[in-house]
């Protein structure tokens, strides 16, 4: 998943970025709202937002994003643990609320949960034709046989599954799987999609000519 992490604490921010990156997520880490402005328009699978930032309130930033119609799943990461704070955070557009200190393992579990709910699924398991995919276990099976995927292939599969039924444009898909400042060859995406089709079957990813890619999944 491509994630936007907004956290001003260096030790926590770096730890979360490295932990999530090790889980094959692409993390853009911003230490302030000013830095976040540079990422405007970037597609993300989820937002991890600290409430208190040096140049403003993460909650206000999220509220503004929601008022513009943005529905990207968001988790508030904050030291404020009062019931009133939690209610305020959730009412302002956060999909979940995690009080510091928390274990990164819990953060990733909640991240998967909010993304599942956002995609309209209660389970981390998906079925596309003969292919069974478990997003939590990061495993894919074709006709009962486990299929090994590369990190890029998995990132493409996950990005499309989280937007199942919707067309994802090629530039958006590239940015979702690469991150903010990465670069790769112009045909790299097609190569990885071809790899996916070779391993999981042609029908796993549908190409919408001139628009992008789409995956149709069943829970």
């Amino acid at each position: 998943m491509r994630l936007l992490l907004i956290e001003d604490d260096e030790i926590l921010g770096e730890g979360l970025r490295d932990y999530l990156s090790a889980d094959e997520h692409r993390v853009d880490w911003c230490r302030s709202l000013r830095e976040v402005a540079a990422h405007r328009g970037e597609p993300y699978d989820a937002l991890l937002v600290d409430w208190q930032l040096p140049d403003g309130s993460g909650l206000d930033w999220l509220r503004g994003r929601r008022s513009r119609g943005d529905a990207t799943p968001a988790l508030m990461l904050t030291a404020r643990d009062l019931l009133t704070d939690r209610i305020c955070g959730l009412d302002s557009g956060a999909d979940d609320y995690l009080v510091k200190p928390f274990a990164p393992e819990e953060l990733t579990a909640r991240l998967r949960a909010v993304c599942r709910r956002s995609a309209g699924n209660a389970s981390s398991r998906r079925r596309v034709g003969q292919v069974e995919i478990d997003l939590a276990a990061r495993s894919a099976h074709l006709a009962g046989q486990r299929v090994e995927l590369t990190a890029r292939e998995w990132a493409i599969l996950e990005a499309l599954l989280l937007r199942a039924g919707r067309i994802v444009t090629k530039p958006d898909l590239e940015r979702l799987i690469l991150g903010f400042d990465a670069e790769w060859a112009s045909n790299a995406l097609e190569v990885h999609v071809a790899g996916l089709r070779r391993k999981l079957g042609r029908e796993i990813v549908e190409t919408i000519r001139g628009l992008g890619y789409r995956i149709g999944a069943q829970a």
Binding site: L12, G13, A22, P101, F102
Partner: protein, 432 residues
């Protein structure tokens, strides 16, 4: 309520009883003194009036009969004359010789009340006498009333006055007592209002005083509440800042350790895991302390399975034997933090095994197999806990456990045991 303290109502009631009795006696005395002369005059008036009434018929009778001296021959006729409450006699004074009683009422003495003609009032032995001359002036009518009877009349008047005063005093006492109770009601209402008064809530005041005398009390309480609210606001601000300052680095330490655990060589993993476990304990203690000190945060009291709670605590170096058949009503985080610190205490003091039991639903008892403490030290610790004099006397474990017990409305006790060290977390009434 402390019954040993003096009660305003009782003291006023006692004062009222005393003053009522004193007032009754004083008023009775005053009445008696005031009416004594009046009663005398009144009785004299009636004596004089009776003499004038009797003088008419007795003059005629005295002229008709002239019995010998000391003779009582006319007593039959005399008895038919009105005498009322008086005695009377008609006396003749011969030119020479002793006074002769010509006629008298049955109650009158046989000897003449006066030895010589005596008009107007005078006192004879045991009698008050009024004399009046009859007809030609040779005979005298004496109408008399015994001193005893006059005293009796005076006493009756005084007794009646005292009785009336006492009745008035009693009625006044009962009325004043009811009035005192009524006037003290605003104090009761103030106490009830104070019970529900939360000075920490914005703009909370006691409102208008019901009595002028209560105005300074209201003003003082409102001023106190304002100071308290300011202090609470400062403490909340500090706690909020402390929460942020403590929680974020703790989360950072855990995240860094989680990454390091993934990246480090396998031989370093157990050591890093222990560091992460310790960081987890630190998180729990900090979270418990912040919960404890943060005003406005309420205890999340619930029935807890102690075995399950303790099984989640990181306790590698200590054997914990839980014998807790019943659930304990407590806040899970606070109790976990307190237990963790008490286990740390045991470990630091050389224990290898701790037995945890629940004598009641609100008591958790720990008995360890460490060297324990001397009876003097135990008393010293208990006194330090009771007096909140933690510094230099107790370790963090006991301080935290005591604060947790107090947060639950209970106390921390150090029972006397023959071996090892024991401690009881009494968590106060659970309200169920």
């Amino acid at each position: 309520m402390n019954k040993d303290l003096p009660s305003i109502r009782t003291r006023l009631a006692h004062a009222l009883v005393g003053w009522s009795l004193l007032w009754s006696v004083a008023v009775s005395m005053a009445v008696w003194l005031a009416v004594q002369n009046e009663v005398d005059e009144l009785l004299d008036d009636t004596l004089e009036a009776a003499a004038e009434v009797l003088s008419g018929p007795l003059s005629i009778q005295a002229q008709a009969e002239s019995p010998p001296a000391g003779h009582d021959a006319g007593s039959e006729q005399a008895s038919s004359l009105p005498s009322g409450r008086f005695a009377w006699q008609v006396v003749r004074y011969p030119a020479s010789g002793k006074a002769q009683v010509l006629i008298k009422s049955p109650a009158a003495p046989t000897s003449a009340l006066r030895g010589s003609p005596s008009p107007a009032f005078g006192d004879a032995s045991g009698w008050r006498v009024f004399g009046i001359s009859l007809a030609d002036g040779s005979q005298w009518l004496y109408v008399a009333q015994s001193h005893e009877e006059r005293h009796e009349a005076q006493l009756e008047v005084a007794f009646g006055a005292a009785l009336a005063t006492l009745a008035i005093a009693l009625i006044a006492h009962l009325w004043l007592r009811a009035r005192v109770r009524h006037e003290l009601l605003p104090l009761q209402r103030l106490a009830q209002h104070l019970c529900a008064h939360d000075p920490a809530s914005t703009g909370a005041t006691l409102g208008k005083a019901e009595r002028q005398e209560l105005q300074p009390v209201h003003a003082a309480i409102d001023a106190l509440a304002e100071r308290l609210a300011r202090r609470l606001a400062q403490e909340r601000a500090f706690t909020s800042h402390a929460a942020h300052a403590l929680r974020t680095p703790l989360a950072g330490i855990d995240a860094q350790l989680a990454v390091a655990l993934r990246e480090c060589p396998p031989e370093l993993q157990p050591r890093l895991q222990r560091v992460r476990t310790a960081a987890g304990r630190l998180q729990r203690v900090v979270a418990a302390l912040l919960t404890l000190f943060r005003s406005g945060a309420e205890l999340q009291r619930q029935p807890l399975d102690l075995t399950a709670l303790i099984s989640r605590l990181p306790l590698d170096a200590l054997t914990i034997d839980v014998q807790a058949p019943q659930a304990v009503s407590a806040d899970a985080d606070l109790l976990a933090a307190a237990l963790l610190n008490l286990f740390d205490n045991s470990l630091r003091n050389g224990a290898t095994r701790v037995q945890v039991s629940t004598p009641t639903a609100t008591t958790v008892r720990l008995d360890d197999n460490g060297p324990g403490v001397s009876p003097e030290r135990r008393r010293e610790l208990q006194s330090a806990i009771a007096a909140h004099a933690y510094e230099g006397s107790t370790g963090l474990g006991l301080v935290l456990a005591d604060l947790v017990a107090r947060a639950h409305g209970g106390v921390l006790l150090i029972p006397d045991v023959s071996g090892g060290f024991a401690i009881e977390l009494r968590l106060g009434p659970c309200g169920e």
